[in-house]
């Protein structure tokens, strides 16, 4: 059904009861014969009825306004939240940065401390009469600071471990070639009963210091102080500096 101004005015007149009696009769006859027209009349009747309820319409309009306001407020608070998140991120980045910076500086100062206390374990003279030649080469290389050679010789065979000072040589060689963990393992193999135990502890403490593991280092230093041996003096100085 084509919607024309004429048709609409007829329907409106009919609904508003402003048509003449004759017109009403004619229109009702038309409606009865035309289902589409009937539907159109019903539709418009309902439209008029619903939209003449101004209160509900106003209420709906109010809801739309409120909805828009709530949305705006929420997106605003989301924006604020976003700003807060950005601010918090910056603070965290600064914090982590400072922490890292401090740590790096600390690590620097620890390695300075390590450098000022570390001297390689001195090579001892080999007791003559043993299978001297092989030992001599290793000790010579160790004294000269050819640590890679010492490592490769000493790790070739396990027979050297019978001489515990070689454990210290190997550990020191590792320590001088950037293999701190291997050094630690090596120092730890020297038993409590060994006369090299105190020295091994000292180098353990220094290795932990080099790694920035201050707590472990301090514990070992205390052990050395209690042992009351030749490393006590150095240990006390170092622990004092660590406290500072």
């Amino acid at each position: 059904m084509e919607r024309t101004q004429e048709l609409f005015e007829k329907i409106e007149g009919y609904l508003a009861q402003t048509l003449s009696e004759e017109e009403v009769l004619a229109f009702e006859k038309e409606i009865a014969e035309n289902f589409e027209l009937k539907r159109e009349v019903e539709k418009q009747r309902e439209l008029h009825q619903v939209l003449s309820d101004r209160d509900t319409l106003d209420f709906k309009e109010k809801l739309q306004k409120i909805s828009a306001e709530v949305k705006k407020e929420q997106s605003k608070s989301n924006t604020y939240f976003l700003y807060w998140k950005i601010a918090a991120s910056i603070i965290i980045i600064l914090g982590v940065g400072t922490l890292l910076w401090n740590n790096l500086n600390k690590t620097d100062s620890f390695s300075d401390l390590y450098a000022s206390y570390y001297t390689p374990y001195p090579a001892e003279d080999i007791t003559r009469g043993d299978t001297a030649n092989e030992w001599d080469d290793i000790v010579k290389n160790y004294s000269k600071g050819n640590y890679d050679k010492v490592i490769s010789e000493l790790t070739k065979t396990t027979s050297f471990t019978t001489l515990e000072q070689f454990g210290l040589y190997l550990g020191n060689s590792y320590l001088n070639t950037g293999k701190e963990r291997e050094a630690l393992l090596q120092f730890e193999t020297i038993s409590n009963e060994s006369r090299y135990h105190e020295a091994a502890n000292w180098y353990r403490a220094l290795t932990h210091l080099k790694l920035g593991e201050i707590k472990k280092s301090s514990e070992i230093l205390k052990e050395i102080i209690n042992y009351n041996g030749i490393y006590k003096e150095k240990a006390m100085q170092l622990i004092q500096e660590l406290k500072e």
């Binding site: 919607r3 024309t4 101004q5 609409f8 005015e9 409106e12 508003a16 539709k43 418009q44 309902e46 439209l47 008029h48 619903v50 939209l51 003449s52 101004r54 209160d55 509900t56 319409l57 106003d58 209420f59 709906k60 309009e61 109010k62 809801l63 739309q64 409120i66 909805s67 306001e69 709530v70």
Partner: protein, 194 residues
């Protein structure tokens, strides 16, 4: 409804109190939005359902036919869910959510009846409010029962132009309503009935 706070909310809604309605909106919208988004709806659906449910409550309050013995929230959520269920059905979508209706049957039945009756009304209002200001003005005057002469005087249009304007606005409104998928579905249902 003996709880004074709940009573205050209902009175606020009935009176169209912006502050009360806004507080209610803020408190409950996200739940309904979440529910509708989870059940194949979009943002616009959520907003429509929420507002139309409030209108159902508003009209019931005004006609003094609101009889609830549960909390407003429970009642309101039941209306929202029923409206959405009814619309989804019209959109011919399946619902896999068993939790869809969670109120007692008696309450549900009375709400559903209201909802089905009001579905077309919601569409009329929705599209009417989307018309241009000029159209809204002219049609409001028409629906308020003014004669064309009066409308011409109020709007300052010539009477002939006011008539033409009225026709164009109403035609465009009806065309838009009929294009809505929910309306299409309602039409099919009412054709079957008649």
């Amino acid at each position: 409804m003996s709880n004074p706070k709940e009573r205050e909310i209902l009175e606020g809604i009935a009176a169209g109190d912006t502050l009360v309605i806004k507080a209610f909106y803020k408190k409950n919208y996200n739940y309904i939005r979440g529910y509708i988004l989870q059940n194949s709806g979009d943002e616009e659906d959520a907003e429509d359902v929420f507002q139309d449910a409030l209108i159902v409550m508003y009209q019931k309050l005004r006609s003094d036919t609101l009889d609830i013995n549960v909390s407003i929230r429970t009642y309101f959520y039941a209306i929202c869910k029923n409206i959405w269920r009814s619309r989804l059905r019209k959109k011919r979508k399946l619902i896999f959510d068993n939790e869809l209706i969670e109120v007692d049957e008696q309450l549900e039945a009375s709400i559903i009846e209201d909802i089905e009756k009001k579905e077309r009304e919601h569409l009329y209002r929705k599209y009417f409010l989307r018309l241009s200001d000029a159209c809204k003005e002219v049609l409001s005057l028409v629906f308020a029962g003014n004669t064309m002469k009066e409308i011409a005087r109020i709007t300052g249009y010539a009477e002939g132009y006011a008539r033409k304007k009225k026709f164009e606005c109403k035609k465009s409104l009806l065309d838009k309503i009929e294009k809505d998928p929910i309306y299409q579905e309602l039409k099919i249902i009412s054709e079957k009935e008649s």
